[in-house]
Amino acid sequence: MARGIGQYIVRRAAHALVVVLGVVIITFIVSHVIPGNPAALWVGAHPTAEQIHRATEELGFNQPIQVQFYIYITNLLRGDLGVSIRTHDTVLSDVAAGLTATLELIISAFIIAVAAGVLVGVLSASHRDRVPDHTGRLAAIFGVSMPPFWLAMILQIVFSQTLRVFPLGSRMSTDISIMYPLKTITGFNLIDSVLTLNFAAFGDSLWHLALPSLALAAYPFGLTVRMIRTMMIEVLQENYIRSGFAWGLPHQLILFRYALKNAISSTVIALGMSFAYTLTGAFLDELIFVWPGLGTYTALAILALDYPAMMGSVIIVAIFYVIINLLVDIFQAFLDPRVTL
């Protein structure tokens, strides 16, 4: 069986490589082939004729398409994503700078969504067609129907503006970051502050993380509830579960230990999908909460017509996403070796 999994991983990784190539090709088509004047987009808003001319030369837009693709792909392999018009830094360094902030946000939103989603999903399935189920399903449907950027703004109005219990945005308060400066080790504020025993910064970071991650968690929460509920309803009709109840085993034990375990493959799929949605949800969420991550960077790039920055972060996020999917598939193969067949 171990050999089967090894082969599966190789096969799946090869597939992922093909998909990454596809992502590169599609991004190339979008940025070089779609009608419009890419050179003009590349130099930013209000270009002069001379700037456009220079960009056309530099980026090789006047050359045959296969030559353009060659230039594009060699630049990419060297990690050269161009220079941002807005920040005047290389896109790669900008993206690297924003990545940990985004990951911190996404991971905490993901944890909220999954923890709440699995709990509500299991309770919903076990109390089918009764009050907890109706409440849970309604919450799930609201979660997936909510425009994420709007939810973010409503949370700001309620919790920052009116109740004043959470900050409006950003990653840390200015006074805390001056009085208790945080040493960057991993780039994750929560981890760095624990490592340096800087508990003021830890609390402050957590406090700033609350609203943005809550807003971001709504959609994946709904998704997780739906998938877990559907799967659990099927599993709960199995004989071994019914005999568990007949034996008088504690309900929690049956639900979370035996039933959830056999709903695991769809649980993993639910987690993978949730992660995907938190990834793109972060784009608008970060912009609203002034979170200094990749999402704000991309959104500001779009608003400022900063074309190199935009395409650069699109390709990075897409590749990142392919890798996540690969990991989810491999993880699933370990949990349920049948998928390797």
């Binding site: 449907i141 129907s145 703004m153 109005i157 784009f283």
Partner: protein
């Protein structure tokens, strides 16, 4: 090749019974009824909007500078925006934009994606593999990201946003139709059609495509809601409808500048998005539950 009449009658009776059970389930379910009511309400608004909106001219963009940013009151139920325009009227006009946008995205994506998936599943081998690999490449982008890139390249406009969303949406239907076609293509009735010499094109059109229709329609109901949110997200970044269009996403976007002092501006257009999307999701969920034998077993007995 004619079947005995009695068999056809039995089949039809059974079909009719299935439909009746389905309808009964849908009518008994408060969630599906609520969803349907919401959708009908918004469709009605989209049709009669210009006649019921209190300030139709403002909805089309004519400003009323004397009444800037008024909070909700009897005259302006949802308040006014930064140009003094009645938000209720603009939201009513926006129903038409949202519904047509999402209908356009979903229907074109189905028209493109479904036949491709059916062809890929039916022929399999090389052609199928090529089609599905290309589909996989499009699916490799996280949702909304590719649409962002395409819309930004094409430039912000409602038509470009619709185009961008179609480009990202069709592969989902291809994959759905592909799975369905794989499951159908060797069923006895398809085999017998092939055996009596029916052409491939006709088999795909008459036997494979209809079999893919049910799951695709369920998905489409849910997608009509998702497309509204996606289009609103693009508008929110300035990549969708442009002012003075009364587009909900655009209104939330403009309202963002004012909303901490003027809460009503962004709140009501966003609420409109939420309620309409909720309608599609309630209906889609109810249909899915009613047709899924595993989920509805207990209710049917």
């Amino acid at each position: 090749m004619t079947e005995p009449i009695s068999d056809i009658v039995v089949q039809e009776q059974q079909r009719f019974r299935e439909w009746r059970v389905f309808l009964k389930l849908m009518l008994k379910n408060p969630l599906s009824l609520t969803g349907t009511a919401i959708i009908i309400f918004f469709i009605a608004l989209a049709i009669v909007g210009p006649f019921v909106a209190p300030y139709p001219r403002q909805a089309e963009g004519v400003p009323d500078i004397a009444n800037q940013l008024r909070p909700p009151d009897w005259e302006h139920w949802f308040g006014t925006d930064e140009l003094g325009r009645d938000l209720l009227s603009r939201i009513i006009f926006g129903a038409r934009i949202s519904l047509t946008t999402s209908a356009a995205v979903v229907s074109v994506a189905i028209i493109l994606g479904m036949p491709l998936g059916a062809i890929a599943g039916y022929y399999g081998e090389r052609l199928g593999a090529v089609i599905m690999r290309i589909t996989d490449m499009f699916l490799a982008f996280p949702p909304l990201l590719l649409a962002l890139a395409v819309a930004a390249t094409l430039g912000g406009s409602l038509v470009n946003a619709i185009l961008a969303l179609i480009i990202t949406w069709w592969p989902w239907y291809t994959r759905l139709a592909y799975g369905q076609a794989l499951a159908t293509k060797n069923l006895p009735y398809v085999d017998s059609a092939r055996a009596i010499g029916v052409g491939d094109a006709r088999i795909i059109a008459r036997h494979i495509l209809p079999a893919t229709l049910a799951p695709i329609l369920i998905q489409a109901t849910l997608d009509l809601g998702s497309a509204i949110i996606a289009a609103a997200g693009l508008s929110f970044l300035g990549l969708g409808a442009q002012p003075p269009t009364p587009d909900w996403g655009l209104m939330v976007n403009t309202g963002k500048t004012f909303f901490l002092q003027h809460w009503w501006y962004a709140t009501f257009p966003g609420l409109a998005i939420l309620v309409l999307v909720l309608g599609f999701n309630l209906l889609g969920d109810a249909i899915r539950e009613a047709v899924d034998p595993k989920l509805s077993r207990r209710r049917l007995i």
